[in-house]
Symmetry: C2
Subunit: 377 residues, 2 copies
């Protein structure tokens, strides 16, 4: 019995061709011809004001933290149910992380719990669009406006998804995307910073270029470049951008195939597992679209989740749990404890992600679906 993996990176066709073109161009460090093509793609397709490819979403979040000038003692509000990087990017700058609980119907953070978490030290809110499904951004932007806070969207999983017709990543002051191989559109490792508030544009370019005005230099605007700010090397090799560009050319195909797989899971479970078995299925609110990044079930109990994972593993199906409540992590707990985030813990303990990748064939998917129904029969 062949194992069905949880994920399989999809190669869309022109990746190698473009990598060789990048090499032939004579410039395989950052900001070569394919980096520019990717930038143009995003700026045109989603009307993002300015984008900058980075080596990872983690690094894009770090750029955001530097850009909004996070200092020791500043507070940053984000969900506890997220990847470690969302928190680490701000913790690295000395921020105190303030965790919000998840929504009852969705792992995204409860927008209505945020206002109570704001203090005079709060500097930013970081909504995570879990599974590519939007947080209620009108509520979040309104809170941010009233309290003078920055909003950094963690759109790691949210490519090609929308909130009330606006592309995710295009709403907060800044946003970060991931092209890690576990995402819809990939480049092995990779990420992108989106700059919606143009006042950040110039400094973003400098921070990304090791704190130098090297971009101005290569545009011929200055005759030497030097140290002008904090910064790091956030540029991916142009070969990574070449790989990514081939994926972007196939975005619609990739998205529609993933949506078919997602819809098939949903049609097979909805009205059955949720009605009769107490399993929660994904909720896509009216204000949000579904980019088919992930199909997940929320089991009735931790024991049920763990038995389901074992059951599937026994059948050669690699379904997986996901984040672990960050407020209970070894790093965080000693620091500021006493938090009680019950919805977060529920997702930590009960959520199961099912295999979902471009090349998952219908027979295999049927086998996964049948195995789940068998478990619940």
């Amino acid at each position: 019995m062949a194992i069905i993996p949880f994920n399989k990176p999809y190669i869309s066709g022109n990746e190698f061709k473009y990598i060789s073109e990048s090499v032939e161009s004579g410039k395989i460090s950052g900001d070569g011809i394919f980096t520019k093509k990717c930038h143009t793609f995003f700026e045109e397709t989603y009307e993002f004001k300015k984008v900058l490819l980075t080596t990872s979403c983690t690094d894009a979040l770090e750029m955001a933290a530097i850009l909004i000038d996070i200092k020791p003692g500043d507070e940053v509000i984000m969900p506890s149910y997220t990847f470690v990087s969302t928190a680490n990017a701000f913790a690295l700058r000395g921020a105190k992380i303030v965790f919000a609980d998840s929504r009852k119907d969705h792992p995204g953070m409860d927008e209505n719990s945020l206002e109570a978490l704001i203090t005079s030290k709060t500097k930013a809110i970081v909504p995570v669009h879990y599974a590519g499904v939007a947080c209620d951004m009108d509520i979040i932007m309104d809170i941010a406006d009233r309290h003078n806070l920055f909003v950094v969207e963690d759109a790691a999983q949210a490519i090609d998804s929308y909130y009330k017709g606006k592309p995710l990543g295009g709403i907060g002051h800044l946003a970060a995307f991931s092209f890690h191989e576990t995402k819809n559109i990939i480049s092995g490792e990779g990420g992108m910073l989106v700059i919606n508030d143009e006042s950040f544009a110039k400094r973003a370019e400098i921070i990304r270029e090791k704190g130098t005005n090297r971009s101005s230099f290569f545009r011929g605007e200055v005759d030497k470049y030097g140290w002008v700010d904090l910064g790091s090397s956030f540029l991916p090799s142009d070969m990574i951008a070449a790989f990514l560009y081939s994926q972007l050319e196939n975005l619609q195909k990739i998205q529609s195939t993933r949506k078919k797989i997602w819809d098939k899971y949903d049609a097979s479970f909805r009205g059955v597992l949720d009605k009769n078995k107490g399993v929660r299925l994904p909720v896509i609110p009216d204000f949000a679209t579904n980019n088919a990044h992930m199909y997940y079930l929320t089991c009735a109990s931790p024991e049920e989740r763990n038995t389901l994972l074992s059951h599937l593993k026994g059948k050669g199906i690699l379904a997986v749990f996901h984040y672990l409540s960050l407020h209970k992590s070894r790093f965080f707990e000693g620091k500021y404890n006493g938090l009680n985030l019950t919805e977060t813990d529920k997702y930590t303990d009960c959520l199961v992600r099912l295999p979902l990748f471009f090349e998952l064939d219908l027979n295999k998917q049927k086998y996964i679906i049948d195995s789940i129904h068998e478990f619940y029969s």
Copy 2:
């Protein structure tokens, strides 16, 4: 007349083959098969205790800064004549950068000036092996030992170079290498952290994996991974490692070709420009080897340097200056000024790097050499 570039990335042959193998392996995120091959290569060839590929040398330096727990107020001593990243990596953690002057005979820092710069807040010394030529590491390690300081070697340019028989990067507590396309061995963007003090090994793995024990998890040592420390995403895609591995297989060939080019420059100038024209030629001390990373001249005056650069440019030869004194940078100057580092300024104002790359052919090199003699005739 075809322009002679300052640098041209060399493709050694198996880069594309290995990139496809990496893709076929099904894992193009970090730490795939080629990352492991590169790690083994370095650990076997140079007997480094532990190495970890990173997305850049800048990032390896940042890992070092986190590992030695740099905190706001700590002081870090380094040359002012270095790339911005050497300083930024520590400035990002809040360190005060204390700049040392260069040696009279070499752009590397003056080992004998260090002790006077040490205070009770000094935490680390960061020697930069300029042009791949070793600093006098016995002196530096002795000072560090006596004052209980860490030594982080910035070996960005120092691959395959030695100090008294020991490979550079293998002497300090930690070291950072670069595989940026301007280096001898390249991967577009890329770097590596070397861990010589094994007490850093476990934490290094965690910091590189976003502050999680994900490496332990994938080795099957724990059944979940979580947030245990500060960290970032320092892993390069395995495709970058695949490219690098092909280069490493050709290291000897690349090095010997570069050395021939270097030697030819040197033989043409030594005894002429230095004797009669007041031009300083590179000095390789007895304790150091030459890895032919760079051939540079130090002109007698800034005017001479700038006229030489223009003269060569007029002949289609892209020779370039190098670092700008960091102590005079816009970022640094406002903070702690009043430094007077005359040797540093001399290299900033008078140094010229000549084209030096694998595919520089003999005729072109002769043309460059002739053009320089013509300038000085």
